[in-house]
Symmetry: C2
Subunit: 343 residues, 2 copies
């Protein structure tokens, strides 16, 4: 059994090396997030993006914004198992944190969007999220809000309002929602007192048991470069784990749900572990309530290991060192709504 | 007919004089809002109150906060005809702006709450708003959010979390949501260029046609002192106005709906006119879409006057001078949610 485990860890290692990720190499998060060449991050675009991120009028009845499910005043998520959209409709997946999503090589749980720009358009027309009939209507809404024009001019040079510009601005704002300088980052940069003894032990255990095979790199989400081929990982690897049934981990078939391809069954993007202490409940279905239990589930379902209570506690303590300071942000001011726009 | 109108205006004038409000006396909004003796406004209490104001966990399924319907990033309201609460339930009245509510002598459309503290508790357990089964459960939620304890200590001296303290903190925050220094205020204080010629004409018309009989004082909401007996006004006064049927203005019987007393039929609090340009659609049922039409409706239903297009345009222009600058606020940081709290 130990041999099988070792082989598996070795295989995973091999995969991650092939993919160019650095195993057991601890990296601090950069102070700025990369931006695509055609959407450089500027203060004006970020300000516009923040307004749009908070603007509930991008939803059918004016009750749901990006912020509704990706709450930047909490952990960048909504603290619910799965999200509630317009007309009280329940989504099927747990809202991922928006924090550091800029460092993900792809977006959504199943990585189906290649960029934040592409992602931003998704929820707007998702019938159980923001519920707009189509993107052109969302664009029309913003056009009808006169107050936006000068902000588009400042951000893009002209006051033309397009859905691509809306998405670009939101993505630019999201690229500022990053949380470097956690205790972990300070430790990696040389402050040996930034982590407690238990956290340092947890860091070693995290690496030793194989978590880094997937949760590698500065964002603990593996591949960060959006220009390399999209990488998903199987979850759960060990379908026989008792947790799989207990938490219904195979009910949602991951990427397969949108492609229908057999090879995509139970394939998922590797989510960041940063700020994980703020984003309970856990997993794509939000069925696991505590960080300790989430670690135990991952040990069993991904690494076929029954982690000891000590290992679980140590790893959880380490993961808590990945929590960033709350972002200092001013509230945006949104232009007023013409009467009759929302019904 | 003119005589009847004049008599009516005179009667209203008489009433307002009796009530101690100052007719045709233009007042600027104070720079700070008054606070009750047992709840002085302190920076620590305001900070805690802001956190709670934005905290959706005070609602049954974690999707609705004070901010949801009283959006301080827009006009202090939700821009909808009536609000959407938990489980997509539709309220029956238009969300009033939270801005300058601190200057109202009573709260809610029908004035049924004597203070902001009392008001703050209402929506939490309203089944179509935040939908908590009772206030003790809301209190329990906040107690389970460990991160709040130090903020209660800073605000109240001890970390005891009670529903009264929650309401006091929210009220303290709301007392900071005031918008003095509008063009109107600057004009009243002596800056003769703060209003356009049209706005000045509108100001005169506003007084001349009788709007100030009810919309008096610095907040344009009549009585501001919560210690005097509660004053409501009849709306509509002229049930025969064509607008009454067109906009269903008598379907909701105002204060009567909560007291069942005949004398309370169609009695309402006088709402502030400050920031009214930001808070379309209008009236308790949110059925009137534009400010111009709202002025026309009031002229007809309250003063029995068919205002001319010129009068309407001038008054609307004047009312637009009551719009404050957007408040400069930082976003609060809310403590994380234990997994399993929200379902």
């Amino acid at each position: 059994m130990r041999t099988i485990k070792r082989c598996l860890t070795f295989m995973m290692l091999g995969l991650s090396v092939l993919a160019g990720t650095a195993y057991a190499e601890w990296q601090a998060l950069p102070d700025t997030a990369p931006a695509p060449k055609d959407n450089p991050t500027t203060p004006e675009k970020v300000e516009l993006g923040k307004m749009l991120y908070f603007d509930k009028r991008l939803s059918q009845n004016g009750t749901v914004s990006c912020q509704s499910c990706h709450n930047v005043m909490e952990g960048g998520d909504d603290s619910r198992p799965t999200s509630v959209g317009v007309e009280a409709q329940l989504g099927s997946r747990n809202a991922p944190t928006v924090f550091n999503s800029a460092f993900h090589a792809s977006q959504f749980w199943d990585g189906r969007a290649a960029s934040l720009e592409e992602q931003a358009k998704g929820p707007i027309t998702n019938p159980v999220e923001m519920g707009m009939p189509d993107l052109s209507l969302a664009m029309e809404r913003v056009r009808q809000l006169d107050g936006y024009a000068p902000y588009f001019t400042a951000a893009f040079g002209t006051d033309e309002i397009t859905i691509d510009r809306i998405a670009q601005a939101i993505a630019a704002y999201e690229r500022t929602l990053i949380t470097p300088d956690t205790p972990y980052d300070r430790f990696v940069k040389g402050d040996s007192e930034a982590l407690t003894a238990r956290q340092q032990r947890g860091m070693e255990t995290f690496a030793a048991v194989g978590c880094q095979a997937c949760h590698s790199g500065a964002n603990f989400s593996g591949q960060m470069d959006p220009d390399t081929p999209r990488q998903l990982q199987r979850f759960p690897v060990f379908a026989s784990s008792r947790f799989v049934k207990e938490y219904g981990l195979m009910e949602d078939k991951g990427r397969f749900e949108s492609t229908g391809k057999e090879a995509d069954k139970h394939m998922w993007k590797v989510p960041t572990l940063r700020n994980i202490a703020l984003t309970a409940p856990y997993f794509h279905n939000g069925k696991v309530n505590t960080l300790e239990e989430a670690v135990r589930v991952m040990g069993s379902a991904q690494l076929n290991q029954d982690l000891s209570d000590q290992q679980v506690a140590d790893i959880a303590a380490f993961l808590r060192s990945l929590t960033g300071e709350g972002l200092k942000q001013t509230m945006p001011h949104l232009p007023p709504t013409p009467g009759g726009m929302l019904q």
